[in-house]
């Protein structure tokens, strides 16, 4: 971990030897080992790419691995805040880790910018002036999927998600927008890898489509097994099961699947084109939505640093809220609860040469804000 941190610091601050004391210290806590490491690696790489491209002096980034464990994340956060004196924290992928770290961090006058997790509690009742979510509120992509299902004329969905808070949020989000009947609703075990039993139920249910939220390896397993089962109902999902990092492992089974995302590499704007090209040049792979979120988070911080010192908390907060940076998503602004108001697109999985990737086919929801903003009093 130490070498990783040194590397990160070396990459982030080429002029560290000259600048004895960094003015702004950013702590990144993210998942770099274990089953969910692909997501954290992408967020980190996107974030560091933006920092490096900016190249300014006086910004230092400290990176630590949370191993996807809430207790580890809390320890790292405490150390970063108390002994390393970071001004800004970021990086957490998983909602349960965010819930463990964010309220304590913001209460100690540290800014927290979320590049991924967006639990509903932090968008509503427990929102905080120092907490900004640069990705989405958890329900958003699922709401867009529900809206798309209506538009596509789907009337009898079979829906499934893992039995944990984000899974329940996902199906809640889908049902908030979806107007048809439910052929079935299943909660699976978190981390489940065999979906034969669920697929048999889908086959027997008489559904006209399947909606699933199974992030990471769970989605790979489900799709491969679904493709081999002979059930050929259309599948809809959020981008998490179809992001660039795992599509290659799913293979042909994902072709043609519609999924919802706030970002894709073909969104037509200058910042995005540059981001995709430079990410590919530096890391030798296509960026995922997680990488785009990391990249946007870093650029948001840098744009706010242009206007205010981080020590001047009120001005810095106002500069973050203004969000005057070139987001790779195009239009981007914050609502009153510091969560994004943004377009969410419908994408389709295609094969481009040898590489599986996504292309945007429609806008699912325009200027969409989350459902919890009204509960936020700040």
């Amino acid at each position: 971990m130490k070498t990783l941190r040194m590397l990160a610091m070396a990459a982030a601050v080429p002029a560290l030897a000259v600048a004895a004391q960094a003015d702004t210290k950013i702590g990144m806590i993210t998942t770099l080992s274990g089953g969910g490491a692909g997501l954290g690696v992408d967020v980190r790489d996107g974030f560091m790419l933006a920092i490096e491209q900016d190249g300014r002096e006086g910004v230092e980034v400290v990176i630590e691995d949370d191993q996807r464990k809430p207790d580890v994340a809390v320890q790292i956060a405490d150390r970063m805040i108390q002994s390393e004196k970071v001004n800004i924290l970021t990086g957490i992928i998983w909602s349960n880790l965010a819930m463990a770290v964010v309220p304590a961090a913001t209460a100690q006058n540290v800014f927290y910018l979320s590049p991924n997790a967006g639990p509903s509690a932090l968008a509503g009742k427990r929102c905080h002036p120092n907490y900004f979510n640069v990705a989405w509120q958890n329900d958003n992509l699922h709401e867009a999927a529900g809206a798309y299902a209506n538009e596509a004329g789907l009337k009898n969905s079979f829906i499934l998600a893992p039995n944990y808070p984000a899974g329940q949020d996902a199906l809640t989000g889908y049902k908030r927008m979806y107007g048809g009947e439910l052929a079935g609703e299943i909660y699976t075990k978190l981390g489940q890898t065999d979906y034969a039993a669920e697929i048999a139920q889908i086959r027997a249910s008489g559904a006209d489509s399947v909606y699933f939220f199974l992030p990471g390896g769970m989605g790979i397993s489900f799709l491969k097994q679904y493709a081999g089962s002979g059930v050929d109902l259309p599948v809809v999902g959020p981008a998490f099961s179809f992001d660039q990092g795992i599509l290659q492992a799913v293979g042909d089974a994902a072709l043609g699947v519609k999924n919802t995302s706030q970002w894709n590499k073909d969104i037509d704007n200058e910042a995005n084109a540059e981001f995709v090209a430079s990410f590919q040049a530096k890391y030798g792979r296509l960026p995922s939505l997680y990488a785009s979120q990391g990249f946007d988070t870093a650029n948001l911080i840098l744009s706010a640093l242009d206007k205010a010192e981080v020590s001047d908390q009120d001005s810095f907060r106002a500069a973050l809220k203004a969000a005057e940076f070139a987001s790779v998503r195009g239009d981007f602004k914050f609502g009153d609860n510091h969560h994004p108001i943004q377009d969410i697109y419908v994408r389709e999985v295609i094969k481009d040469g040898d590489v599986f990737t996504n292309k945007i086919i429609a806008t699912g929801l325009s200027d969409h804000a989350d459902a919890y903003a009204g509960e936020c009093k700040m």
Partner: protein, 306 residues
């Protein structure tokens, strides 16, 4: 609910059971013969899956990939035994757990270092993909049927090996009395390496077979390892017959429970909370089964007098 759905779920339970048997057979042999708790057995499962994915990527042949998974896992197992495990036989179980847990970390991060953090691609070959129609109008994936058959073949082979061959006699003798067979002139350390490599190869095969329909990624072995431990505890430690019976019981209970418990709850609850409560209880079901069996037979179904 139709009888086709029930039959299909029974087949699914059978398939899960067979996969668990491949994992549990090696674990129970190692525990039975050497008295060793090997937490790193799941890492061998992962090694098999990664070897298969890599070889399938280079050659495009699924059969070669399966062969590679057997070879790689057996080699990794033999190496593990020679370098680390060998020093642990005389230690107590806590030392074994610590050392093999360290092996998990070494294997996981080593695999990440070699293959990266992103899942690998390993697909079912075209001649095994798609569903087949079984008598009674059931559509069932051909590949899962193949896993059931491979599991049955391995079970038959293991029974023959243990019951009829010289090495089988030595294994059984090793379970009964380690010191005595060493005194009788059997090269016990070689026997241990062979048994360990055999168990590793079976775990690797399970990893490769399952990797084709699941995701090949770092850390894929640990959830299966827990189930495999439940299987050998239910079946009785050291018994291949027990591993087979335990694996089938756990496979059936887990599959049928997760399907039918939520439906049972829906009779007297509203659908959303029935789904959630049923799913929660279903995931506890195999542990309840284990507790119930241990109450009646404290050393497992086919356990000795230990």
């Amino acid at each position: 609910m139709t009888y086709i759905l029930v039959l299909e779920q029974i087949l699914n339970g059978l398939q899960l059971g067979m996969m668990l048997f491949l994992m549990a057979a090696g674990l129970t042999l190692v525990f039975g013969v050497m008295g060793l708790i090997n937490l790193a057995h799941g890492s061998l499962y992962m090694v098999g899956a990664f070897a298969a994915a890599a070889v399938a990527g280079w050659t495009g042949s699924f059969l070669l990939a399966l062969t590679a998974s057997l070879a790689a896992a057996a080699a990794a197992g033999a190496l593990m035994e020679l370098v680390v495990i060998r020093r642990l036989y005389r230690r107590d179980h806590l030392d074994q757990v610590l050392a093999t847990f360290a092996l998990i970390l070494i294997f996981s991060e080593g695999t990440r270092w070699l293959f990266g953090s992103f899942p690998l691609f390993l697909d079912v070959p075209s001649y095994l993909s798609g569903p087949v129609s079984l008598p009674g109008g059931i559509q069932y994936p051909l590949y899962r049927l193949t896993i059931i058959l491979i599991g049955l073949a391995v079970a038959a082979g293991l029974f023959l090996l243990i019951a009829r061959t010289r090495i089988g006699i030595q294994i059984r003798a090793g379970e009964a009395d380690r010191e005595m067979i060493a005194a009788l002139g059997v090269d016990i350390s070689k026997l241990y390496t062979v048994v360990f490599a055999l168990g590793a190869a079976l775990a690797g095969l399970a990893g490769a077979l399952v990797g084709a329909i699941q995701s090949v990624q770092v850390g894929m072995g640990e959830p299966v390892l827990i189930l495999a431990f439940v299987v050998i505890v239910i079946g009785g430690i050291g018994s291949i017959k027990g591993a087979l019976a335990g694996a089938l019981l756990v496979g059936m209970t887990d599959t049928l429970g997760s399907v039918f418990l939520p439906q049972l709850f829906a009779v007297f609850m509203d659908p959303a909370s029935a789904a959630s409560a049923g799913a929660s209880l279903a995931s506890m079901l195999i542990y309840i089964l284990m507790a119930a069996i241990l109450l009646v037979r404290p050393s497992g179904l086919y356990g000795g007098s230990a």
